[in-house]
């Protein structure tokens, strides 16, 4: 069946569709959000934000991974990352139906599963209708294409943020101009007046949250705090920078990390492994298995771009720099991993190639060369967190066991 235009755009209907799709949601997973107070707050805030996006009165923008949400918050627009939402749906049995519907609609199975599932969820009319679509090219070609397709699908306007690959005066200036132009376009499309005071506040919240985040990272550098490390990644993945709630979450996490660090047995030594690549939910079998044997440090949360603080005097310029730093790039990738590897005194690296992620596949091969040259023990795993046709734990486990023996 081919269906490319949403006819029923009522968010209440879509909310009911979403509930039906998640009817058999793995409830056990929900209860295992984690023992940390920060994790619970983050989970509640996420749930609240998602619920709000299904309300007809809300202004909703689809915004991809690493989109600078700080430019949306001054307009009280709620950004929805449909790729992250797909990860949420991945915990329910419905994910298989969503993937099937994409095949019925001629989307190739070679495309990254995150994109395929997002497409399937939209086809099943389980996302809330957006008011506007922000197209950013940060993670990949497919996500940018998907955003455009969604604009066509819901018949809604899109605004493209074209992020260059290399950091220089020209690319920064190009992005600054785009931000200013996008702000005007948002005003025009939503009839919401830009409020400079709110924007300043948003930048302030973004930095406050980041400072707690960075201080927490420093604690994980010194102490074995696996749950904290995991939560840092979860926060990074939700891209909450600019929300007041993000300050609360990061502050709580820092306080918890500080308290936990005081209670640790300093004689307890665990091998440390750097996890490079996308992260599945914490009950995914690879993670559960590894966590019994080693301490995992999640690189994504430690990316230089993610630690970058915004300049209150020149917010657009600093947003531009951060945006470019988020682009995949071999030199930055290698530098960042080397830095983290040395600072955290790692014992090995696990590189995860998520099915269909061309950027990471290309970069990880180069990382292998780097690891070999520097006598770093590494393991490369091909995995798919959503489509079981592309992955079997039994095969991966043999390789993990061999890697654990080596380190």
């Amino acid at each position: 069946m081919i269906r490319y235009k949403i006819t029923d755009k009522d968010r209440e209907t879509q909310y009911q569709n979403m509930l039906r799709a998640t009817d058999n949601y793995n409830a056990e997973n929900i209860n295992q959000v984690g023992n940390l107070k920060a994790s619970k707050i983050r989970s509640l805030v996420n749930a609240y934000i998602i619920m709000e996006t299904y309300k007809n009165k809300s202004k909703v923008a689809y915004a991809g991974e690493q989109f600078p949400n700080e430019i949306l918050f001054p307009f009280d627009i709620r950004p929805l990352n449909i790729e992250s939402m797909a990860a949420f749906f991945a915990r329910s049995d419905a994910i298989e139906k969503f993937l099937k519907v994409t095949e019925e609609n001629n989307l190739a199975r070679d495309i990254c599963t995150n994109i395929r599932s997002s497409f399937g969820i939209a086809l099943a009319n389980c996302y809330p209708t957006p008011d506007i679509i922000m197209v950013n090219n940060h993670p990949c070609d497919c996500l940018a294409k998907l955003a455009y397709i969604m604009a066509d699908f819901y018949d809604k306007p899109y605004l493209a943020l074209d992020v260059p690959n290399y950091l220089n005066d020209d690319s920064i200036s190009y992005l600054v101009k785009q931000f200013k132009s996008i702000m005007k376009d948002i005003e025009r499309l939503t009839n919401i007046k830009y409020n400079e005071e709110k924007f300043t506040k948003v930048i302030d919240y973004s930095n406050q949250a980041k400072e707690y985040f960075i201080n927490t990272v420093k604690l994980t550098e010194k102490y074995r705090l696996p749950e904290i490390s995991r939560e840092l990644y979860e926060i990074f993945a939700t891209n909450p920078w600019g929300l007041k709630e993000a300050v609360d979450i990061c502050k709580t996490l820092y306080e918890e990390a500080f308290e936990l660090s005081k209670k640790l047995d300093s004689n307890e030594k665990w091998k440390k492994v750097l996890w490079v690549g996308q992260l599945p939910n914490h009950t995914f079998e690879i993670i559960e298995y590894l966590e019994k044997h080693v301490e995992i440090i999640y690189w994504g949360a430690l990316m230089d771009s993610n630690m970058y603080l915004l300049d209150k005097e020149e917010p657009f310029k600093s947003l531009a720099i951060r945006s470019i730093l988020y682009m995949w790039n071999t030199d930055r990738f290698k530098k960042s991993i080397t830095d983290v590897y040395n600072r955290f005194k790692m014992d090995g690296i696990i590189i995860i190639n998520a099915w269909g992620c061309r950027n990471l596949q290309g970069l990880s091969q180069m990382l292998r060369v780097f690891a070999t040259e520097n006598n770093i023990k590494y393991l490369t795993i091909d995995a798919d967190y959503m489509d079981r046709n592309n992955y079997a734990f039994s095969h991966v486990k043999n390789r993990i066991d061999a890697f654990l023996e080596i380190i």
Partner: protein
């Protein structure tokens, strides 16, 4: 007519030997968004890296990934095998994720005297035009520095005229394929377009002048049996076996909306505008490649060609793992079906290994349409 046609086709087949004989700096390119005119104006011979000789991609797989588009892997294989060691360098364009990684793998692992990476916007607007123009000015400056020369406005204008002439000649050749009884086969057409990218620009233009005159003289022939007209669109494509399969069914390939077809030579650069501005506008205005965001623009362009060439069936060819074309396909198919145009989707590698299964699918698709 056949002699001159074969002479042009041979230009493509003999491209490496010809390029080696040229006593000028030579520069390879991988995306049709490369502004060849600027390089030509600097006295550089430009040629497309085709990946034709990169059949064994084992080493390239190790530097990138098995799950990469075979055109990208084959191009890198050619680099690894030293096929282009005679060249001064390669111009890369941000034409897709895999080509970005190709740029990094190539420049880090293989010795190049010169390379340049052009950032290409996905969405065409005033700001992205300005930025692309800036990229082209930077390329000009970079070439001037590297080769210690000055690229004058006159050099640029002359280059634009030369390339516009090639475009016009190719457009005239394709125009003749709109006839009910075209004399140029699909394989010949693709080989001619590829010949235009083999570095012998003036020779190509001269030979094309002769060929077109000969075709025009011969084109007055008519016949009784009008053939089923097929269009090819999608990824990088130059697989002669697939075209043979299509044409052996009794159908004829009349148009290729691909980078080895119309997408390479359509339109003209405005010779009256400031040269760099005109070059930038030309490349961005023909933004109908799958890499660009606007699928609707791509579809409208495709549909216009279908009407102009009186196409009966469309074959959408995507290289395996060519994400941008794979993402566009469901939408393009839907829109074509709404217009009553049937589409066959073929996914393959540049150096096809499963031609038999593809043959069966093409035969079944076309025969059910034709008889």
């Amino acid at each position: 007519m056949r002699d001159i046609l074969e002479s042009i086709v041979n230009m493509n087949e003999d491209r490496i030997n010809s390029l080696k004989r040229i006593n000028k700096p030579r520069m390879g390119w991988i995306s049709i968004y490369t502004p060849e005119e600027i390089l030509y104006a600097a006295g550089i011979t430009t040629f497309r890296i085709t990946g034709e000789r990169g059949i064994n991609t084992t080493d390239a797989n190790a530097l990138l990934s098995n799950n990469y588009c075979s055109y990208v892997l084959s191009c890198l294989s050619e680099g690894i095998d030293g096929v282009y060691d005679f060249a001064e360098g390669v111009i890369f364009v941000d034409a897709c994720d895999m080509r970005k990684r190709l740029y990094e793998a190539w420049t880090r692992n293989l010795k190049l005297n010169y390379s340049f990476f052009i950032e290409l916007p996905r969405d065409i607007n005033k700001l992205s035009r300005e930025y692309y123009k800036l990229q082209l000015h930077n390329l000009r400056k970079s070439l001037e520095t590297h080769f210690d020369l000055k690229i004058s406005e006159e050099n640029l204008s002359d280059a634009i005229k030369t390339f516009n002439k090639s475009r016009k000649l190719l457009q005239q050749m394709y125009e003749l394929r709109k006839s009910d009884f075209p004399l140029i086969s699909g394989n010949d057409a693709i080989n001619i377009v590829k010949a235009s990218t083999c570095g012998l620009r003036e020779e190509f233009n001269e030979k094309m002048d002769i060929l077109l005159k000969k075709i025009e003289d011969a084109q007055i022939r008519t016949g009784k049996l009008k053939k089923h007209r097929v269009m090819m669109c999608g990824s990088y494509f130059d697989n002669s076996d697939i075209i043979d399969v299509i044409e052996k069914t009794g159908a004829i390939l009349v148009c290729e909306d691909i980078s080895n077809g119309i997408k390479y030579f359509e339109g003209q650069i405005n010779e009256n505008n400031e040269p760099i501005d005109a070059i930038a506008d030309y490349y961005l205005d023909k933004a109908t490649c799958a890499r660009m965001l606007d699928i609707n623009k791509r579809f409208e362009h495709l549909y216009k060609l279908i009407q102009e060439y009186n196409v009966d069936s469309v074959i959408y060819f995507s290289l395996k793992f060519c994400d941008t074309n794979l993402m566009d396909y469901p939408i393009i198919r839907k829109k074509l079906n709404e217009k009553g145009i049937p589409v066959l989707f073929i996914e393959g590698e540049q150096h096809m290994t499963n031609i038999e299964s593809i043959k069966t699918r093409i035969q079944t698709f076309l025969e059910t349409r034709m008889y």
